[in-house]
């Protein structure tokens, strides 16, 4: 018997507290003089004696409660002899299911070896099965049902994940901390060098945990892969499209590789490239990319088989579309803003957008983004239409002007226009941008805003909106606001050629292009992701449901998840389809992490060091091989709870008696 944390016994000093309280309580019962006791009887003292008994009982219960809690914190234990089955402790079987294990029957061999380990366990010995890639999946609880362990091993299938030995070690440490017996970990993996964490210390296990590494080696190590693809995410002109790919070799000799380009499963081009030994080569597919309108599922793939075929294709999605039609709405008769914006949009290459004046009765929902220039006092129906448009995922660039300032509010958004800041044009008094969020996509690289002069700016109370740029008098110039699933950009100075000289400055072209890209999400979508990346589905809880189809064409989310999930982990390679409201569809291509392509194994010394380190941990573990500690703190805490309940009951009885006595008096 012993104590795990004997310093907690110092807490027994707390026992003085109830003793002191009870002595104080008893001291309070001072006697009272009375003229004569000839009408009192000795039997009347019963209640007082009972109360004193209660005091003693209460005192004992309180002392017991404190003592039990303190003893529980001291973590007492008793040593006991282990049963034969218990002497083996808990056996953890960790099987690597990453993409690299799918080649050369590695996973099958790992499962076979794990099954042999289970067969060798003595009856009654407990085991647990884990599979790991970038994350660790616990397939069974700690059980002595060996059939269950075998079934779990058989259920493991190869995944497209990359393996992470650091993540596995972290999971093992957590399991080791909650285990109250020696743990032996059997690790079945190809032990890629690329799976190792940056620091060897991250592989450290906890005390009492031993590691047995079962290296699943592959005969072939030479592996080629398409490391990356550079292709237009959005295709406006198929004839001029160009696809570039980088072929990388790992442990490979110099060789010629054949690479094909496929579009929606059809091979459209073939290239042959000479790849140097363990080097890289670039492949270019010129001559256009003939794809239909909408998203096309494309891939660049190596033809020849190698050590890992799973990484030979590289998927990417291309969206062929016409330039986005940006609707323009203005409440003034001036045509300046439209001309400035149209000129700026036309100057961008390639032409991703076209600006179109909004016709009467035209629905907002038809456009990926709208520009609202000083609409003035909008009718309530129009304001509601704008709000609905933004809330349902639309985007708007709102340019504040005098007509809007007179209404005091920005339509569709709960932002107040508090007044106007003027600077005299005749002198040098003008306002300039003094503070800008350079990390914002709209301001990214916009270093020339400092030269823009502002003579009239409308003061907007930002409220919940984010200020992207401020002038030197601290007036917000550019703001970002969100409403529902949509967003808006607010420019606090009109584009009329008088309030500022922004349209005449080079920064204007960048501002218009970047703003429209950001608003229409043309440059925001992730085109290339790797397996196990997380993809954000929605920004607010009130957003509409998103239907997600996995590469196999199956729904990846339940109905409730589709309505409420904020993000989804892309756990398969291939093309993921996201369908949102308004017939908006997006296709993402998920590829195997290219670190899996390097089949170079962990040095044998590192593996031995890891095992040796774990063995040292086991010798310093809390239990001898034939003895085990039985922790007593759960029992003590249980007794403490019982003492607490008894104390509450006795104290309640005592209070009731006192209450009755007072009512009787």
């Amino acid at each position: 018997m012993g104590l795990g944390a004997p310093f907690w016994l110092a807490g027994l000093g707390l026992l003085a507290l109830p003793l002191w309280l009870h002595l104080l309580k008893r001291h309070r019962s001072t006697p009272q003089f009375f003229s004569s006791l000839m009408f009192f009887e000795r039997s009347t003292s019963a209640s007082v004696r009972q109360r004193r008994l209660d005091y003693i009982l209460l005192l004992l219960l309180r002392l017991a409660l404190l003592a039990l809690i303190v003893l529980a914190f001291a973590r007492p234990f008793v040593n006991r002899a282990l049963l034969p089955a218990e002497r083996t402790g808990l056996t953890l079987l960790a099987i690597d299911s990453s993409a690299s294990m799918s080649a050369q029957n590695k996973l099958e061999r790992a499962r076979e070896e794990a099954a042999k380990i289970v067969d060798s366990l003595p009856p009654g010995a407990r085991g647990r099965v884990l599979s790991f890639g970038s994350t660790t999946t616990i397939l069974t609880g700690a059980t002595d049902a060996h059939d269950e362990l075998q079934a779990a091993i058989r259920s493991i299938r190869p995944t497209a994940s990359r393996s992470s030995l650091g993540g596995l070690a972290a999971s093992l440490r957590n399991l080791g901390r909650i285990a109250d017996e020696p743990v032996t970990v059997h690790l079945f993996s190809d032990l890629q060098r690329s799976s190792m964490p940056p620091a060897f210390d991250e592989l450290r296990l906890v005390a009492g945990m031993a590691l047995r590494v079962h290296r699943i080696e592959g005969k072939e190590k030479a592996n080629w892969t398409i490391e990356s693809v550079n292709a237009p995410r959005r295709l406006l002109d198929p004839a001029t499209a160009r696809v570039e790919a980088v072929v990388a070799g790992f442990n490979t000799p110099a060789a010629s590789r054949t690479i094909v380009l496929r579009v929606n499963g059809n091979q459209v081009a073939t290239r042959t490239v000479q790849v140097p030994a363990s080097g890289k080569a670039r492949v270019t597919f010129d001559g256009g990319l003939s794809v239909p309108y909408g998203f096309a599922q494309c891939e660049v793939a190596l033809i020849e088989p190698d050590a890992l075929d799973a990484d030979n294709p590289f998927h990417f999605a291309v969206n062929r579309a016409d330039p986005d039609k940006i609707l323009f709405s203005s409440g003034t008769s001036s045509n300046d803003a439209y001309l400035y914006l149209q000129t700026a949009i036309g100057a961008t290459a390639p032409t991703l957008f076209t600006l179109q004046p909004m016709a009467a009765g035209q629905p907002w929902t038809a456009a990926p983004a709208v520009i609202v220039s000083d609409p003035g006092a909008m009718a309530q129906a129009e304001v509601e239409a704008l709000k609905t448009y933004i809330r349902s995922g639309g985007a708007a660039l709102i340019i504040v002007g005098p007509a809007m300032a007179s209404t005091g509010r920005i339509p569709g958004l709960d932002l107040a226009v508090q007044g106007t800041s003027y600077a005299e044009r005749g002198s040098d008094r003008f306002l300039q941008v003094s503070e800008a969020d350079q990390a914002h996509p709209v301001m990214d690289g916009a270093g020339r805003w400092e030269s823009v002069r502002f003579y009239q700016v409308f003061r907007i109370n930002p409220g919940q909106a984010k200020v992207i740029a401020r002038l030197n008098d601290a007036t917000p110039l550019l703001l970002e606001a969100h409403l529902g699933e949509g967003k808006a950009l607010i420019l606090a100075s009109p584009l009329d050629g008088r309030a500022n000289d922004l349209p005449l400055q080079p920064a204007f072209l960048q501002f218009v292009e970047k703003s429209l890209r950001w608003l229409s999400a043309a440059g925001e979508r992730v085109g290339l992701v790797t397996v196990d990346d997380s993809y954000e589905l929605r920004q607010s809880d009130t957003a509409a449901a998103v239907e997600v189809l996995n590469p196999a064409g199956q729904r990846a989310l339940t109905v409730s998840e589709a309505a409420g999930a904020k993000a989804i982990a892309l756990d398969q390679k291939g093309f993921w389809t996201f369908r949102r409201t308004g017939a908006r569809t997006e296709v993402l291509a998920a590829n195997i992490d290219r670190r899996e392509s390097d089949l170079e194994e962990m040095p044998a010394e590192s593996a031995e060091l890891w095992q040796g380190d774990a063995a040292a941990n086991q010798t310093t573990g809390p239990a001898a091989p034939d003895r085990a500690q039985r922790q007593l703190w759960p029992w003590l805490l249980g007794l403490a709870v019982a003492a607490l309940l008894a104390e509450v009951w006795v104290a309640s009885k005592h209070l009731n008696r006192e209450q009755q006595a007072k009512e009787g008096a």
Partner: protein, 295 residues
């Protein structure tokens, strides 16, 4: 010291009572006191026709000279009775649940009654006792007697336990002359014993009035929680619960009061219960009222 006992508020009450008593007739008070001596009065009362045997000294010769008839001139006789106050100064009289102890209340009462008697030119005496006679001032109407009595009252502090038998045997011998005897005590004794001990005074022709001084806490104990009670006289300790104090104790003290009243009135004594939370003049008024009722 005199001022202490002659509290203006109490004096106001007593003055009213005196006025009431004097308007009723001094002779009524004399009759109340049943003075055995025919008074040498100064105040004319009435004429009465002479009958043979009357003392010729009281014939009004002026009337006879004017009318030729014999009339006797009668006067209000004044009391020359003796008032003896027996003041219990035992330890139990030191109890107080409010601001005033029972002994203080008893002393105020004794002083007030002595003052009342002194104004009626009665002889006033005092006996302070516990288990023995501790102070004795024989009744007298001499100059300075009033102050002697007041001093003796002032000296009466709780000192010992009560024992009616021993002191009453002593002062029965000094109470041969008829008068009024006031016994001021809390009477923590068996009612029959009290009646049996004090009754001989009545047999000697005294009017005996028992003022039973009790603290309201003794009649209606207000215990909020169980307490350890200590007897002021014996030092005995008992643990008492609020439930007992509110129930059985009340029953027993009420029975004791009823038995005491019945016992003492059964032997011709007058019983007055005086609670220390009630005005002092109320006891005096009751005293005079009781005397009036005896007419």
């Amino acid at each position: 010291m005199v001022q202490r006992f002659l509290d203006p508020e109490i004096l106001a009450g007593i003055a009213n009572l005196e006025l009431t008593a004097r308007t009723v007739v001094d002779g009524f008070i004399a009759g109340l006191h049943r003075s055995p001596d025919f008074g040498f009065s100064q105040e004319f009362a009435e004429y009465r026709q002479y009958v043979p045997g009357d003392d010729l000294r009281y014939v009004d010769w002026n009337v006879y000279a004017r009318s030729g008839r014999l009339y006797l001139k009668r006067y209000h006789g004044e009391t020359n009775t003796r008032l003896t106050i027996l003041l219990d100064r035992s330890n139990s009289m030191g109890f107080a649940s409010t601001g005033i102890r029972k002994i203080d209340y008893a002393r105020y009462l004794a002083a007030s009654l002595a003052y009342l008697a002194h104004h009626q030119r009665d002889a006033v005496g005092l006996i302070a006792f516990d288990d023995h006679v501790r102070d004795f001032i024989a009744p007298s109407s001499r100059q300075g007697q009033w102050l002697k009595v007041l001093h003796a009252i002032d000296r009466a502090e709780p000192g010992n336990r009560t024992d009616f038998a021993q002191p009453f045997l002593q002062f029965q011998e000094s109470l041969h002359t008829r008068g009024i005897v006031l016994v001021v005590s809390d009477f923590y004794a068996d009612p029959e014993t009290v009646a049996r001990t004090i009754a001989p005074l009545r047999f000697h022709g005294n009017d005996v009035i028992l003022f039973h001084i009790l603290d309201p806490m003794e009649i209606n104990p207000d215990l909020r929680e169980p307490k350890i009670m200590i007897d002021l006289e014996t030092g005995q300790e008992l643990e008492v619960s609020p439930a007992y104090a509110a129930g059985p104790y009340r029953t027993r003290i009420d029975a004791h009061l009823a038995r005491l009243k019945q016992s003492v009135e059964g032997v011709g004594l007058t019983y007055v219960l005086a609670e220390t939370n009630k005005p002092l003049d109320r006891a005096l008024r009751e005293y005079l009222g009781i005397r009036q009722g005896r007419l």
